[in-house]
Amino acid sequence: MSVGGTQHSPVRRFLQSRGSSSWADRSFRWLMVSCALSIFAIVALIATELVTQSELTLRQFGWKFFVGSAWNPVSGKFGALPFIYGTLVSSLLSLVLAVPLAVGVAVFLTEMCPKALRGILSFLTELLAAIPSVVYGLWAIFVLVPLLQHYVDPVLIRLLGWTGLFVAPDFGLGLFAAGVILAIMILPIISSLTREVMSAVPHTQREAVLALGATRWEMIRMGVLRNARIGIVGSIILGLGRALGETMAVAMVIGSSPTITKSLLAPAYSMAAVIANEFAEAVSDLHRTALIEIGLALFLVTIVVNILARLLVWAVTRGTPARTA
């Protein structure tokens, strides 16, 4: 072990005293594996709890609970369909409104914004994410809903009334108002993540497109958005996740009516909103169990929507060849 004079060097002595250190890697590995496994455990616990707690309605209504549209605590009839419908439609509506806006904000911030303005604007967009949802709800009731009712909805009724999606009567509260407030709430998530993936696109890609004689917009489309599209879809999925589960603001503006109406201006209800509104007042066991099963339905809908979104990503990127063949 004596290699020259290094045997006596304090550095060498110290390093040799450390041994193989293999226990460190082993314990680190187990620590990480248990972190990963805890995710499975949490999901499994939630699922079993939701199923066991909603046993009463599961036994009474079976799968028809998910397709039934009656909701009458007095006569003891419960069906989840109007709530599933309200959650899905308000969330999709929020995506339709928020995605173009969020991508536009991200494009402006990464590609066009003067440096001095960039900091302020991105701070403001991220500030939107920090506002509690009950504050959004209050603002929606006192500002957004009257605004929509008096200025926006009449225009929509006139222009798009023929589609049947925007027809009177209009109470202000309803799916459309819920979609708009959700759009404002998910805007910062989508735009800040989109901004991140866009700024991660290497500068050389932008140069490659510019050198081909591209205008600025063509450069953004071909050199930036195209390369960032998987990340952008990922950010949209995250935004959708938030929209599906959002409770308070939606509960305050959706109109709290368990009905399915084609018009987006009609009052409706969402899964999260009905749980929040009725759980404290549910007197019968059946009513309480029905609300828990609504929670189960929300859990399943979230899973299904996420799977569909991932399939969509897969279908979109399947056409393009793999990076490594």
Binding site: Q205, E207, G213, A322
Partner: protein
Amino acid sequence: MGVGIEVNLLNAWYGANHTLEDITLHIPANEATALIGPSGCGKSTFVRCLNRMHETNPIAKVTGEVKVGGVDIYSETSAVEVRRRIGMVFQRPNPFPTMSIYDNVASGLRLNGFRVRRVLDEVVERSLKHAALWEEVKDDLKKKSGASLSGGQQQRLCIARALAVDPEVLLMDEPASALDPVSTAKIEDLIFELKSQYTIVIVTHNMQQAARVAERTGFFLNGKLIEFDSTHKIFTNPSDKRTEDYITGRFG
């Protein structure tokens, strides 16, 4: 066919840094012109001024005159039009990773709204043959991504992409510096082939490369063009002491 480039009193800055000082030279058509010099001498900045890529950096500034085929690219035309006429190949291969090989080559034409399938097919095949890549990729044109190729193949793909729009000038900014010797040799052969049809300006660190491919060579030092002459003259009998010191390896 290529066109000549006349540069008159070109000055360029990055912020307060004066990177090019009073450059004046004439690059003849349908020849390869090499630009050599130590790192930071301004040779890359110079080629980036020839297709107005320099100004894409917000702190960059340019003055002077650059005439490509008789048209001053700074006063008589827009940057977008200039870059449609002048192709560029960069130091690191930068194919579009989300596009197939075919789409990479067709990207310049598609960008400008060209959609005729039959002509696109022809252009893609011709450009890839020109770039000496056709034989290696013809079976997976639409199956493989541009990023799935090796580094040398990627660079030839980028050359094919630049050739597909039929440029009048081809700028190459150290096109082989990230490649192994075999790929480098292929790129050099390619430049040799291409220069009868295109005006080629190639920046290189490698003096043998300049000697092998270029008719004319310019030597840059500290933002100034020290000497510009036939390659033979520069490498055998330079008129400036600094050029001689550089090519004999006494500095840089």
